[in-house]
């Protein structure tokens, strides 16, 4: 196939081969879509694969594209705001669908519906690749002469700038709208803009089915190398609110505990230890994002449950013994110790730590051991230290 000349050539080639095997390239090329695959873990976030159809459409050779950043397709009139939004999506590791003015190699601009989505490692939840599908947006019939057409394009630029062409207008974009001077002009001409770069349902469907096919192909070929990928993050740390460094520190604490985030709606679990999962029988993705009360069941005393909620609302530590249920619905007495944990600035409660203890296991403890209460306190201690430390270091890197 091809050999890269770039110094990062090997890394770029391995990016695809080591994850999906060499054979995936041919299969991907047979797909009737314009798309690129980029690797955010390589410096510069380069394109590591470009489909045959895309090359045909853009007029570039494969060698000219591989190793370059996706920016290669943008030009003078590509809207900066749209490009920023794509960057933001990359940072937040989420998918995005947005219209964009791209350029062919010979300088001809063309509208596309750009649909980008992350591909995750099944093993640790890291983003392995981003796939960027480019669906050409069929030019609409022009209403009048060339003068009008020019204005139309400009307004459309503005429209993209203002976010009107996107399916969803997110709230922060709306907030920013007010700061844009020619908002009124654009707003009055909504209809106009919509006509200019409207994306038909057919095009959206096209993007979605491309995504489906590419994903299933990548997933299938990742089975050949054993390094599975998936479209959803199925791993703990990254889905949760705790960062990677805190996640690592917390991973060293062997006892059963969860961290909940009082700053999020309904105080969801943002970290669950392996021992917690073992004790309750749930998988990690089944508990993250949920309020702890899902462990309760028919016989759980509601007032005890309320005590836990109150403790969190008032930011106080508390100890309760509550009847909980495992995933298989078998009940167990859970002696729960709940304590607020401050962040490194010391000013506010960053998390609550809930340390579980299955009281039915008391007798198995050795003679020469610490009291179970002490073991619980030691988990609180370890969590406090971990949160405080990761916060200190985070402060620095900012």
């Amino acid at each position: 196939m091809f050999m890269e000349q770039q110094p990062m050539g090997i890394a770029i080639e391995q990016s695809i081969n080591s994850r999906y095997s060499y054979w995936v390239r041919e299969a991907l090329d047979d797909l009737p879509y314009n798309f690129t695959i980029t690797d955010p873990s390589i410096p510069g976030h380069p394109i590591v694969f470009a489909s045959r159809e895309l090359l045909k459409m853009s007029g570039y050779s494969r060698e000219e594209v591989i190793g370059k950043n996706g920016r290669i397709f943008q030009g003078a009139k590509s809207n900066r705001r749209s490009v920023m939004e794509i960057k933001q999506a990359i940072r937040e590791e989420r998918s995005i669908q947005i219209t964009l003015l791209n350029y062919q190699k010979n300088g001809t601009p063309f509208w596309i519906l750009f649909h980008m989505f992350p591909v995750f490692s099944k093993e640790d939840g890291r983003v392995i690749h981003f796939v960027g599908v480019q669906v050409p947006v069929t030019p609409k019939p022009r209403r009048s002469g060339s003068e009008f057409s020019r204005i139309q394009v400009n307004l459309c630029d503005n429209a993209a700038f203002l976010g009107f062409c996107r399916r969803e207008v997110c709230s922060d974009t709306v907030a920013e709208l007010s700061r844009i001077p020619n908002l009124d002009l654009a707003a009055e001409d909504t209809e106009f803009n919509d006509t200019a770069c409207k994306v038909s349902d057919l095009e959206k469907q096209g993007a979605n089915s491309a995504m489906g096919s590419i994903l299933s192909m990548l997933t299938h070929y990742s089975q050949l190398t054993g390094k599975l990928v998936s479209e959803k993050r199925c791993c703990s740390s990254y889905m949760s609110g705790v960062g990677a460094s805190l996640n690592t520190s917390l991973g060293r604490i062997k006892q059963s505990f969860v961290l909940t985030d009082p700053h999020k709606t309904d105080i969801p679990i943002v970290y669950a230890s392996d021992a917690f999962l073992e004790m309750t029988g749930y998988a990690r993705h089944e508990v993250l994002g949920r309020n702890c009360r899902f462990l309760s069941g028919e016989e759980t005393d509601l007032s005890t449950q309320l005590q836990v909620t109150n403790s969190m609302q008032t930011g106080k530590a508390c100890t309760v013994c509550i009847l909980n249920y495992r995933k298989d619905r078998s009940p167990f007495w859970n002696c729960l110790y709940i304590s607020p944990v401050r962040n490194a600035s010391g000013k506010q409660t960053a998390y609550f730590v809930e340390v579980q203890m299955n009281v039915n296991n008391y007798n198995e403890k050795q003679q020469q051991n610490l009291r179970p209460e002490m073991m619980q306190l030691s988990v609180v201690a370890a969590v406090k230290v971990a949160v405080r430390t990761s916060g200190m270091i985070a402060t620095t890197s900012n």
Binding site: S249, A344, Q368, M374, S378
Partner: protein, 438 residues
């Protein structure tokens, strides 16, 4: 006589009361203290560590629980719950200061409140124990986390409720009620013997064993001599947990010599405070002996110093200092004095506990460096002190190993040491002087 005025650190709740009452303590008690009045029948957890011969010991049987993570931090959190600390240290803002070294700053406004400055004599490193002053036998038993001693049968043992055996004078680990980080404790060797703040072989080895038992490079022990910002003249080491590397631990070192028992002695380079690093050794005792011989030499020569026991007890920093002396002589700039930072072992190691918000907000590597540079001995004085140390420890080592025979090898080692370290001007150790000295 040189004195400085400073706000003493309140390490025990009973120290505070005492200060408020004015005059010392008047028996009869009921405070559950560590003295004859309260000791009969008293019980405390006892942790017996396994004495091992080698620093690297792999065939250890798994202890029932983790010494540091479970016992020490768990007991500490328990005291937090019981409200024994003067403030919540996790409510004190902390950060790593941007820069090459990563000095750590903490804003601790509460630590020195409500105490009047007291005069401290700083020109005598060794002072006799004074039972009328605050000492650790006056702390409440609730402030003591556990007794800490070597196991008799060679395995880790733990007794949740062990009687306090007055005869064997237990060493204990107590909380510092004014913690500067999470898990801040005091190791008080043979507490009932009422030893003054003075390093001896046995106590330093105990401190090394504690670091080793914790087995975590982020749990360090420190020692301040009198005249180097120790405020209590009752033998104690401090320790706490802070999960970042200290700047002094990152500083490069230049090997001066390999000493008896395989202990390597190096000089700290590119760091504002001049000092020595001891590491290696065939056993923990070898390392401990080299360090304690050096400490004993410094205190006998009335040179104030600080000690940092790092890397789980495998690396020990020895830092002679002269800040308090300069302060007493009026040689420290008012700007530095205004910060009220007392450069004890933790500050010297790079963990700056700041008392004023403006100092915390404006904390920079330059500021930290400027302060620590004042703490350090001058190069000339440092070389003098090195010569004194090397002379003393080579003699001590020779005595330990081969008295009354003379050992040529050792003499060569000493010469090498001095030459390698380019201390040609130093006094060359000779046997005669050794014998005279000891």
């Amino acid at each position: 006589m040189l004195r400085i005025k400073r706000v003493p650190t309140v390490v025990s709740n009973y120290q505070k009361e005492e200060a408020e009452e004015g005059d010392g303590f008047t028996g009869g008690c009921g405070r559950n203290c560590m003295r004859d009045c309260c000791l009969p029948g008293a019980k405390l957890p006892l942790y017996a560590f396994r004495k091992h011969d080698k620093i690297e010991s792999s065939e250890k049987k798994d202890p029932p629980f983790a010494f540091l993570d479970s016992l020490l931090l768990g007991e500490w959190e328990d005291r937090t719950e019981r409200g024994l600390f003067r403030y919540d240290v996790t409510a004190c803002s902390t950060k790593v200061i941007p820069g090459d070294y990563g000095f750590v700053a903490q804003l601790n406004e509460g630590r020195h409140l409500k105490k009047r400055p007291t005069e401290f004599r700083v020109d005598k490193v060794l002072q006799p124990f004074d039972g009328s002053k605050f000492n650790f036998t006056k702390v409440g038993q609730e402030e003591i986390l556990f007794q800490f001693e070597a196991s008799k049968d060679g395995e880790v043992e733990f007794y949740p409720n062990a009687p306090i055996d007055v005869e064997s004078s237990p060493s204990v680990v107590a909380i510092n009620v004014s913690p500067i980080e999470y898990g801040h404790v005091l190791l008080i060797p043979r507490i009932l013997e009422c030893l003054p703040q003075r390093i001896d072989h046995e106590s330093l080895l105990l401190a090394l064993y504690m670091a080793s038992e914790a087995g975590n490079p982020y749990f360090r022990l420190g020692y301040n001599s009198l005249g180097a910002f120790a405020t209590i003249n009752h033998l104690h080491f401090q320790a706490y947990y802070l999960a970042v590397r200290f700047p002094i631990e990152k500083a490069p070192t230049g090997k001066i010599t390999e000493f008896n028992g395989g202990v390597v002695i190096s000089e700290i380079l590119n760091y504002p405070v001049r000092g020595l690093v001891f590491e290696g050794g065939y056993s923990l005792e070898d390392l401990s002996n080299a360090v304690s011989d050096s400490c004993i030499c410094l205190q006998d020569n009335n040179i104030p110093y600080n000690v940092l026991i790092s890397d789980s007890g495998t690396r020990v920093f020895l830092l002679p200092q002269c800040y308090a002396e300069k302060q007493a002589l009026g040689e420290v700039s008012p700007e530095l004095l205004d910060t009220q930072v007392n450069p004890a072992v933790w500050e010297i190691s790079g963990h700056m506990v700041l008392k004023r918000k403006q100092d915390y907000d404006g904390a920079s590597e330059d500021n930290a460096w400027r302060l620590l540079a004042e703490v350090s001995l001058s190069e000339a004085r440092f070389q003098e002190v090195l010569a004194i140390i090397f002379e003393a420890i080579s003699c001590a080592a020779t005595e330990n190993e081969s008295l009354p025979d003379e050992d040529e090898q050792d003499v060569e080692d000493v010469d090498d040491a001095l030459n390698n370290g380019s201390h040609q001007n130093a006094v060359v150790a000779g046997k005669q002087e050794c014998i005279v000295q000891h």
